[in-house]
Amino acid sequence: MGDSQYSFSLTTFRSQLSLSLSLSLSAETYRQDDFKWVSVPCSPSGKLVQIEHALTAVGSGQTSLGIKASNGVVIATEKKLPSILVDETSVQKIQALTPNIGVVYSGMGPDFRVLVRKSRKQAQQYYLLYKETIPVTQLVRETAAVMQEFTQSGGVRPFGVSLLIAGYDDNGPQLYQVDPSGSYFSWKASAMGKNVSNAKTFLEKRYTEDMELDDAIHTAILTLKEGYEGQISSNNIEIGIIRSDREFRVLSPAEIKDFLEEVE
């Protein structure tokens, strides 16, 4: 990975090793003392502590979920803002990576932005090289590779986000989850963030193989509602869908309102 700004010589590594293992990181911010060689050595148990911490950051992020229907995919997330003064139209948690692939996250917003930027660039480079729009699996693989790089390079930390990538290509509708470690899984329905266990149980009960996209959207809203503290409305959730027309789009608040009314 070429854009690491910190390159340490081997001599400093040894003296800093014991210190880095005992760094305790809070879920909100990664407290990095200046110029600590925060590489990701294996602990004796075989776990990578940094990645555990990153997963904790994800686990305390706002709930997000995705459902793969027979004719499309829906991804959704809570959009709880820190204060009523924040302009909610300026916050966009669900982003398009290509015209037919969208992504949502749980965890640290700034890390998400960096990944979105990188993934978009990779999709363009793939097109320039192969003159084929990037298939969903390829983009997932390349994004996961970027996330893995950051777990094995010097002077960087793993990304504190898990991504849910939704796309529709020649292999039909697909939903992938990518973790800070760089591992990825294909899901029929999945959730991440604060309310993950309740949400997953709810989804397990409600999911059917031949669900249509509109049912999936209703199910997604109900799942979000389950764990939502407060009143759910069209301004504090975000929903992105992709149908068989292969155009990923984020629903407008008016459209969300219609779906909410149908659910109630």
């Binding site: 930027r117 978009r120 660039k121 363009q124 320039l128």
Partner: protein
Amino acid sequence: MTGSMDLPAKGGFDFDLCRRNNMLEKNGLKLPGFLKTGTTIVGLVFQDGVVLGADTRATEGPIVADKNCEKIHFMAPNIYCCGAGTAADTEAVTDMVSSQLQLHRYATGRESRVITALTLLKSHLFRYQGHVSAALVLGGVDCTGPHLHTVYPHGSTDTLPFATMGSGSLAAMSVFESRFKEGLTREEGIELVSDAIRAGIFNDLGSGSNVDVCVITKGKTEYLRNHQLPNPRTYASSKGFSFTKGQTEVLSTKIIPLKQKVEVAEGGDAMEE
């Protein structure tokens, strides 16, 4: 550290192979030419937007390499670019800028502007000091209105109501200069562009074959590929050829029987599994 000597870092292009090429040429090697597009490309601004036009012949010296190539390249849904000069250069540079515009659209959430495409192109061409031989006619409609620009290989640009580029530009410009006026309608614009391209096709050797037209208006782009085909191919015979025996005079006959090389051995062991 053993191994090669570390050469001082040289910026930009590496011209070492030019000496080798000069030596080869002196020794009689004929260097391959590159595919130029010869070309007539034009553009004009009409009342609702921009019309771009191009011929479809790609030449390699005196040979027509592609009789129906596409010279109007996609930059953005609302911006198209005609390319003259070296075909590889125009393709590569328009693809690259098209990709950059897509990334910019994602980052900003807005439609691309023609001036953005123009600046990206001219910065790239200037950086390569004219070695990227791409002469372009860039046109599109964005939130600030319709725009038409020409870009020269060294990186200079013009903003014009009507423009022509390529080897057929003089022929096409004569048509524009006599008939262009402000506020043309869509049909008049397409007709004027087609006439200008046809002037290039028939009067310039580097241009030929068909007329491609692209009409860009606010919210809609129509790419009329092969809008006119003024050079239909006439094949020798639609029924094909028939050569009956006896039409060709036989001068001599020589028959060589092929020796049979295959020997079948009777018996023998079957192959082991």
